[in-house]
Symmetry: C2
Subunit: 471 residues, 2 copies
């Protein structure tokens, strides 16, 4: 193998100034995942500005024998965008492909480059009186290609679905450099296999997503938000079902916050939060509507009265101002940072059927108490969708990476076993990446894995695309 830097000269020629990053200091932010659980390696980062440049990159990579790892905002939790040491993979960063291509306010669609930052796409929709409902903690830095590659979930799945449910069109550079372009803004189009579905959630292993068309909704001009203190043993599935019914599915957020997660936030702030959990934890509930004709405050109030009457909720606080609403949201959004501040956590991203959320919490809590007594938990999340971020805090004085490995080799499987027994899964929204490959094999049915490999071979026979991720 010749000197890597000279092997990259065709890419320099192709991409021009700022198009290839090779100096060690600059590489760090591309080679380390955001939680610094993995230190990757790459001969260089390629920064194309157009779909045509991405096609040329792929053709060159095939010709020169480089593997490629696509990267958006590098905000993933499973190392899916981290180039593996020893593989000599080039990173393709989409940070210079961030153009909003079009917004159709009457048709409620938005088309943009894959490198568009989620918050920028949200703002472009909002400027036209529309809502792009994909919303997650990393929205200020994650990029839409990454959201598509990981089928991102987030805070409003309950009402609007996952990223897959929002995607109308995709543009993808295939492993031979050819282009699959299906950027039509159609809501209905039954013309053979819906091939774009393959690339959503594929973590860049089948091609490089360069463009996205998303569904929009009318901008939500009214909101009603409440903080619920749950009664002891409050049945979360029944509460969520009652909320859906009573609010006519205008609830866009139903987030559980455990007392322990709330305590972490208070610890970090060093101050009383002004909001407390009940014996069963707390729920952040938000309704939203695009029309003044819906009496949203009345709907919320009536729903809360029904919950209190049923004995599920002890007390509730209605946000009386945008400031108070922001306070409630900040608490929810600060939990990951508060976990980090307290020494870090091992994040288990559990999915169960919505109706099994309470059973899961009870059984998984008991498992951890029995097998790893004294371990502090922080659990919270999108329980209206059956998604629980069930995190084990790193004990004081323990090395974070060592504890992570210990949990992942042991107690994590006991927790996954509870989820699987309830018809659930070890990955709700984070994906597989490089950290959960073993889990995919361990919990994947053989027929499913065989089919997955057959698809990978059919589309990427030479393994150019993100080798080491997922499979």
């Amino acid at each position: 193998m010749s000197d890597p830097s000279s092997r990259l000269s065709p890419f320099h020629a192709l991409l021009g100034e700022g198009g290839v990053v090779t100096d060690a200091d600059s590489l760090i932010r591309y080679t380390h995942d955001q939680r610094a659980l993995m230190q990757g390696q790459t001969p260089g980062v390629l920064r194309p500005r157009s779909t045509e440049e991405v096609q040329a990159i792929v053709r060159l990579a095939v010709h020169l024998g480089f593997g490629l790892v696509p990267q958006g905002g590098n905000t993933g939790y499973v190392g899916g965008a981290t180039p593996e040491p020893g593989r000599g993979q080039l990173v393709v960063s989409f940070e210079r492909m961030n153009r909003i291509r079009s917004v159709d306010a009457a048709g409620f669609t938005l088309a943009c480059d894959a490198g568009t930052i989620l918050a920028d796409a949200q703002a472009a929709a909002e400027a036209q009186g529309c809502l792009l409902p994909l919303s997650l903690g990393a929205e200020g830095s994650c990029r839409l290609g990454g959201n598509v590659g990981t089928n991102a979930g987030g805070l409003q799945v309950l009402r609007y679905g996952m990223t897959r449910d929002l995607v109308l069109g995709l543009e993808v550079v295939l492993p031979d450099g050819s282009l699959f372009s299906d950027m039509r803004t159609l809501r209905k189009n039954n013309i053979g296999y819906d091939l774009k579905q393959l690339f959503i959630g594929a973590e860049g292993t089948l091609g490089l997503v360069t463009g996205v068309v998303l569904k929009l909704w009318p901008a939500q001009t009214r909101r009603a938000t409440a903080w619920l203190q749950l009664a002891a043993n409050a049945p979360i599935p029944e509460i969520a079902a009652l909320v859906r019914r009573e609010t006519a599915d205008l609830a866009s957020t139903f987030e559980l916050i455990s007392a322990s997660s709330l305590a972490l936030v208070a610890d970090m702030r060093g101050a009383d939060l002004g909001l407390a959990a009940g014996p069963g934890g707390a729920v952040l509930l938000e309704l939203s509507a695009s029309s003044e004709r819906i009496p949203l405050d009345d709907v919320l109030l009536g729903t809360l009265e029904a919950l209190i009457e049923a004995g599920h909720v002890e007390d509730a606080v209605l946000a009386q101002s945008e400031r108070q609403r922001r306070e409630m949201w900040t608490i929810r959004e600060t939990i990951p940072e508060a976990e980090k501040h307290a020494g870090g956590s091992v994040k288990l991203d559990i999915a169960v059927p919505t109706s099994a959320v309470s059973s899961f919490l009870e059984r998984a809590g008991a498992v951890v108490a029995a097998e790893a007594p004294g371990t502090r938990l922080s659990f919270y999340g999108h329980v209206g969708d059956g998604n629980i971020h069930f995190n084990l805090m790193v004990p004081a004085g323990r090395d974070r990476l060592a504890f992570t490995r210990e949990v992942e080799a042991g107690i994590a499987h006991a927790v996954y076993a509870v989820a699987v027994d309830l018809g659930g899964s070890f990955s709700a929204e984070y994906g597989i990446g490089r950290f959960k490959r073993d889990l995919l094999v361990r919990y994947g049915e053989p027929n499913r894995l065989a089919l997955l490999s057959a698809i990978k071979r059919a589309i990427d026979p030479h393994g150019v695309m993100n080798a080491g991720a997922m499979i």
Copy 2:
């Protein structure tokens, strides 16, 4: 080749009494598509009662060299379930696999066999206080496996999406007889490629769907319905957008009915309908909600006032009773029958971006007037989703099949060209089947078709599954 009936004896042994149909009279309802545009042929129809029997059928078929054509209610419009003359394909009918497996009312999911009639699944959901929103004209006889295979659309896509958007889980017998089972009721589950997406809309060409898990919603306990008379040149996209916004997306139906389609219904009934179209046609608009807390009548009234004020709507009738609501719906649902009664139609199932519906109608109408003067049109449909059933009536005295061929070879392409020019498609919800294979090739991009074939080869290398459909 040996005598076909003796070649079927292993299937008789496998499926027992009533399991194999071979007599000519009984075969007719399986070998003719519902519009009798194609007369198919088959050595026999297989009627399994379980997933295991379907697996055994596939293994036997591979061994004996039979191709298979899956069939649900045989209500499709494109010949996708019709065995082709000369191919010796066996039909696999799912009519004996019609069990509701489970309904989870708190988790809002329903699991059932692929042969379940859509209306039966709707009823099972309703019995538990839930809504299965998939709704189409054929719901009393179509079966869910067929809905999945064709990614059926229908009357409530505007709010709830296509069949794809409703599917949480699938069970599929693969072309080698092995089982792909992903019947979990999870709303979030990111564990590698979402393989079930491949089988949705694949028209049975990749495997035989045997089980389905569907999302449910809270039962809609309130409805508000109106008949709108559109003003001349009323901008349909702007009206649909205003309706979405003003009703907070509680509109579940927004159906255009042209004056010409309405006239067909009146002709068939031989009576005044009591409801008229405006110069721009009529719209059937329905809002629905699961909660008494939403003042649905006020929301509808306010929305209609806004539409009249904007000059888009000349007049509107609010349904004052369930009887009046049913009358409005019956008119809409009777259009296909009225077309048949008037001598039949050639159905063009157009999709355009929602914002291009008015442009399409204007341009396509002009094209037909210029190239086939005197042709009577009947257009209607789910224009809130950009889907227009744009049908050309068979002229009095013309042979239906001959006229169909003439249109499909000529003027249809001029209409498709308008749709494609607006970023649209020649098939919104009917699919490809056997009638639109040529269109798929004519309008499909080469890279897309190559990928489609690669997937077919990877999963069904011996072409066992529904050969001749789609590709």
